[in-house]
């Protein structure tokens, strides 16, 4: 194997890890600020200018806190669970093209770690493994609230995997490829080519499922503070708890990237303007995660299941069938 290739890949991995763990930290800052402004508060103000160094303070706090492992927990699993969440969140980033190809110092850079031709499936699969973190953490904690949280995360996972898959199926039938770069290139040439325009139903469904997968507010039942304390995180302390947090926020960023690339045209034709557009779209999706947290109530687990199996899944199936028929008619097969 080419040495240059290996070095390039390692550099990319390090850059992605650094950028997104920092972004995950700043994600918490943005969330606190946005929520505060929407609730007529100021949010963090005391550490650094406008509270910007609050992230660093929190990081120092989490790192130096005692790592408590309670009695009666299943120790290896308890220790492993937060690592799964954080690690899989970053593993999923391997197949995401963050930026169009560009040339730096006469060297052509593909800002994607591994351009596998089943990119989107890989991303969804690894994000699915990420849900093992809450599940294992909850089951190993020897705490009733954690166990309830684990049961809920299993239920959410099993149901919303179906929605994600079926919602993705229709756009993938149109594109005919599972590679995120191919999906992006399919949509070049203006807003009318975006898949969100031709597949609005799939877009909305995927968006809803993204909320369930990242466990954000309308579907925040995995760690709903007013019912089950912190759910799977109840028994955790220090950096192990922080890893769950980093995983959650990194996941939010990555799923925003995936949504922007699949449905909103990604980076377009690969120009600088297109790349900036991609960042704007990602910022919008991330902001929307925070926005809904300020505005919407949480729903009950039974409502979540009802919504998934009796509303979203039939719509998704019908959408897939209609897409298939339309593609057949267009190809003149009927």
């Amino acid at each position: 194997m080419d040495v240059a290739f290996i070095i390039e890949t390692i550099v990319k991995i390090v850059v992605i890890l650094l950028v997104f763990s920092a972004l995950a930290g700043f994600g918490t800052y943005f969330e606190r600020k946005v929520l505060a402004f929407m609730q007529r508060r100021l949010g963090p103000m005391h550490v650094g200018p406008y509270g910007l160094l609050q992230v660093a303070a929190d990081g120092i706090k989490l790192f130096t806190k005692e790592d408590i492992i309670p009695q009666n927990v299943v120790k290896p699993i308890f220790k492993l669970a937060p690592v799964i969440t954080a690690a899989t969140a970053f593993m999923a980033a391997a197949a995401i093209p963050f930026w169009p190809e560009f040339t730096a110092f006469g060297y052509k850079v593909h800002p994607i770690v591994a351009d596998v031709n089943v990119g989107i499936l890989y991303v969804m699969a690894v994000m699915a493994i990420g849900l093992y973190g809450p599940l294992l953490g909850g089951m190993a904690s020897a705490n009733k609230f954690s166990l309830i949280s684990a049961a809920r995360s299993a239920a959410v996972f099993i149901s919303y995997e179906v929605i994600t898959g079926l919602a993705l199926l229709a756009p993938l039938m149109m594109v005919g490829s599972l590679s995120l770069i191919d999906i992006n290139n399919y949509q070049t040439g203006g807003i009318s080519n975006w898949i969100a325009v031709s597949q609005p139903v799939a877009f909305i469904l995927f968006w809803i499922a993204a909320f369930a997968e990242t466990g954000r507010t309308p579907f925040h039942l995995v760690a709903n503070d007013h019912e089950i304390i912190d759910g799977f995180g109840t028994e955790y302390s220090g950096m192990r708890w922080g890893l769950f947090f980093i995983g959650e926020y990194a996941n939010m960023f990555f799923i925003s990237f995936v949504m922007a690339i699949i449905f909103l045209g990604g980076y377009g034709d690969g120009s600088i303007a297109g790349a900036l557009q991609l960042l704007l779209k990602v910022a919008f999706f991330f902001f929307f995660f925070l926005w809904t947290r300020a505005a919407w109530p949480d729903i009950r687990p039974d409502q979540l299941m009802w919504l998934c199996w009796k509303v979203l899944m039939p719509i998704a199936v019908v959408n897939v069938v209609i897409t298939g028929v339309v593609i057949l008619i267009k190809q003149g097969g009927m």
């Binding site: 299943v74 031709n117 089943v118 699915a128 089951m139 020897a142 049961a151 995997e161």
Partner: protein, 195 residues
């Protein structure tokens, strides 16, 4: 060289994981090791260049093992070790070893007799996932559809079994209604007993 290293690494990991699955008496260890083993198996598909199958392996088995976790949660206290009841350990041991050797023999014999060649080698122009689709919907269409129908039957059966009295809620019903319901439920059994 990288492929060889990866192969031996993942082979060792997979074997270790499934050994834990079999040997441990702690439900949570067993389930987690099984999930990890299933994910490590997908590494072999990736090494062989079958990306699609590898990813499908991850997606399918994370979901399947997640369902197993749900069952584990319902049946055990997963933070305690399960005390298994073994009436005749010798029979279990002999049967287990026999089954294992049989499986190994069945899988290894074609490799020893003739060198295996891929019936459908990876077509660089088409890509792996398209080849799989083509084969599934041409040569293996009938088994594929039969499997689909069987899964549909299983799904409908599951819904029918679980869906009985789903419109009734014990928490919303009055005491008398619950008593009435359990009385009518118990009635046919007593009638049968009388005959």
């Amino acid at each position: 060289m990288f492929e060889a290293i990866a192969f031996y690494l993942f082979a060792a990991l997979t074997i270790a994981m499934f050994t834990i699955t079999v040997m441990t008496s702690q439900a949570l260890y067993a389930l987690t090791a099984m999930a990890a083993g299933m994910i490590f198996i997908s590494a072999f598909f990736f090494i062989l260049g079958a990306d699609f199958l590898g990813v499908i392996q991850i997606i399918v088995y994370t979901g399947a093992v997640m369902a197993l976790y749900a069952f584990g949660m319902m049946f055990f206290d997963t933070t305690r070790t399960v005390v298994e009841k073994r009436d005749n350990p010798r029979v279990i041991f002999i049967l287990g070893v026999l089954a294992a050797t049989l499986v190994v023999f069945i899988l290894v014999s074609p490799i020893i007799s003739t060198h295996i060649e891929a019936n459908y080698p990876i077509n660089a122009a088409m890509g792996n996932s398209e080849t799989i689709g083509l084969i599934l919907f041409t040569k293996f269409l009938v088994p594929f559809e039969i499997a689909a129908v069987m899964l549909l039957v299983a799904m409908i059966a599951g819904i029918v079994l679980a869906g009985k009295k789903m419109d009734k809620s014990l928490t919303l019903m009055a005491e008398e209604e619950i008593a009435l319901m359990s009385a009518t439920q118990a009635k046919p059994e007593t009638e049968e007993g009388a005959h």
